[in-house]
Symmetry: C2
Subunit: 376 residues, 2 copies
């Protein structure tokens, strides 16, 4: 049974929907901040729930493989699952596979899976579809992602094709293993498939067809937002989208920036995750309706207004640009938390506004208006 | 006029009182967390105001000299003073002098003052009584501390005596300059004197007499809690106390640990500041009624209870020891904030309980009961 239901459609292609999970029904579109290691960086799960006025983070994404190394499955299971371990009662996604391949611990891939060396104890670990399905089920996330093989930006067609074929094989295996586990453990965990194919449109098309033909609960497009020019990201997504069923929840992994979020929402994407807002915040780059600003700049040294006037976030409620700049100047780590709160609030608030616009069938106008002010 | 009024006395010598400042009347005894650079470390001024249930930080201590270098007086003044700059509407103390001498930027002392080199632009700065009185007034703190000269633990009688004599000279100068400035600028800023004398009881006595004879609004005992054995700290305080008028607010600088706070409250000390709670927290050492615990220890890896059951702090309300240990294990900086919140809450809660005990004239019993459980 499809856990996703579309409730509103906008002429642009944008839509509102509801995804039913073991931890409640979540409205789409939604944006997930990262809780890779069961926490944000400088920002904790309670912060995610208290970003500011009228905004609450309804979903997070954690990393299944990394958590299986630290703190380890046993501890998370004894805590009663990942929700209780990190005290986040809303929806949790877990990812694995492609995402880690960019990390230092990746060693090689074979047809069976991905080979890693644990950065903690130097042990070899082979991630197979079975292994990762078991990990994700034990963690107790609401949505598990299949094991995928992600090729880097710039690789040859052959290399991209091979990664896609691994992804397809692992996808089929992930699905059948997950179905058996789900039945055996009476689990309500959902499983999403992942489309790969690098930046070769014909591979994206082939992958979208293959993954969509399998009985996943949702379809993700992975392997984008990995350093390619923006137009290539859109082209890869656009090559896949026509072959992904409209009635399934659609997730573009690793996006992103405020404008990219709106552009993808207009394409009927329902779900996002990215470290873009927090990574920018940690470097002092902040989102406002009028575009980004770098609060480190000297011109803010005596600016005693909040990052954005009228912003309802915790940080804008308490501090001025001059003060935040001071914290960055003295290298106070707390600044990274305060600035992350602002950017995440901005994105969550933007999605709320986007939802209103979709409901009122004026999303294209809303998006263009936002871009006019925000730029880029 | 004495801004301090004693409202309750306990047979032990402990007392409750009220100190009137430009930012409201604060009840004593009170404990001030550090906001040396206009912020805590990993913890911000809004955190200080939201440590948990029924506890609010009513006073902070910042460092006048460091703030005059970064962000600089001009910025703080343009913000409307330190309260507005760091958004802390309660009582702010500023310190200077002795405190900095332990820092890398100290170069030498002369009869005129303390010579520093700015760590920011390498400029030479000489802190004289006039200079620091002007800085503190411009920052707009509620309580300014006089310029003092602090000798290290272990120095000779001669060296200690010389530092004390500098302190006395600078104290007289600070006072007369402050009186003139206060009048000129119609300021309500209070000025506290500082007793020095190292760990030589006869010097402590002499210094207490000298400083107490001057018309300060309050009397601090400085130059303790600088690495000496605990009994030497108490001896230094005890040597000075008989010569400090009972009707003035009395402040022991740099203390401290939960038990030290209670021992000094029993001696009629009204005011404290220390980085002890937060410094311990950042290293994973946490206060509970049953003593300290090191949450890094392996035995907490599967302990899914809060740091202290029944604790009303934000951290205990949200997270378990197992989770906090996980955050430390992965070197997540956010852990330092969460653990600092707990220890500060513990100290503020302890002071609240101490105040109740004083009101009910059972402070000695309360203190002994606490020590029995807490140890040390």
């Amino acid at each position: 049974m499809n856990p996703f239901k579309i409730t509103h459609r906008d002429p642009s292609g944008a839509r509102l929907g509801k995804l039913k999970t073991a931890h409640g029904t979540i409205e789409t579109p939604f944006f997930m901040p990262a809780a890779t290691k069961a926490t944000g960086k400088h920002i904790t799960t309670d912060d995610y729930q208290h970003l500011g006025a009228n905004v609450i983070t309804k979903a997070l994404i954690a990393n299944a493989f990394i958590l299986s190394l630290r703190p380890g499955l046993e501890i998370v299971q004894k805590a009663g699952g990942l929700h209780l371990f990190m005290n986040f009662p809303e929806v949790i996604f877990t990812d694995c596979g492609g995402f880690q391949m960019s990390r230092g611990m990746f060693e090689q891939k074979t047809k069976n899976g991905l080979h890693f060396r644990s950065p903690f104890d130097n042990q070899k670990v082979v991630l197979t579809p079975r292994k990762i399905m078991e990990i994700e089920l034990k963690l107790g996330s609401d949505v598990a992602m299949m094991l995928d093989d992600m090729s880097s930006y710039g690789v040859s067609f052959e290399e991209a094709k091979q990664a896609m074929e691994n992804t397809h094989r692992w996808g089929s295996e992930s699905l059948s293993i997950h179905q058996a586990l789900r039945e055996h453990y009476q689990s309500k965990q959902l499983l999403f498939g992942i489309v790969q194919g690098n930046f070769y449109p014909e591979l994206r098309k082939e992958s979208a067809k293959f993954i969509s033909a399998l009985d996943f609960d949702g379809i993700a497009i992975g392997g984008v937002a990995i350093g390619e020019p923006l137009d290539k990201m859109y082209k890869a997504v656009d090559a896949a989208l026509p072959f992904i069923p409209k009635n399934k929840i659609r997730y573009v992994m690793g996006v992103g920036s405020p404008v990219e979020l709106l552009e993808l929402i207009a394409r009927g994407i329902d779900c996002f995750d990215s470290v873009y807002p927090t990574q920018n915040a940690r470097h002092g780059t902040l989102f406002t309706r009028e575009g980004t600003l770098s609060v480190k700049q000297g011109k803010y040294a005596q600016d005693f207004t909040p990052i954005e006037t009228g912003c309802g976030c915790h940080t804008c409620h308490h501090y001025t640009k001059a003060y935040l700049r001071h914290l960055l100047t003295i290298d106070e780590p707390a600044a990274k938390r305060l600035l992350s709160v602002h950017n995440l609030y901005f994105v969550q608030r933007l999605i709320l506004d986007a939802k209103e616009a979709i409901k009122e069938k004026r999303f294209a106008e809303f998006k263009e208006g936002f871009k006019r002010n925000f730029g880029r």
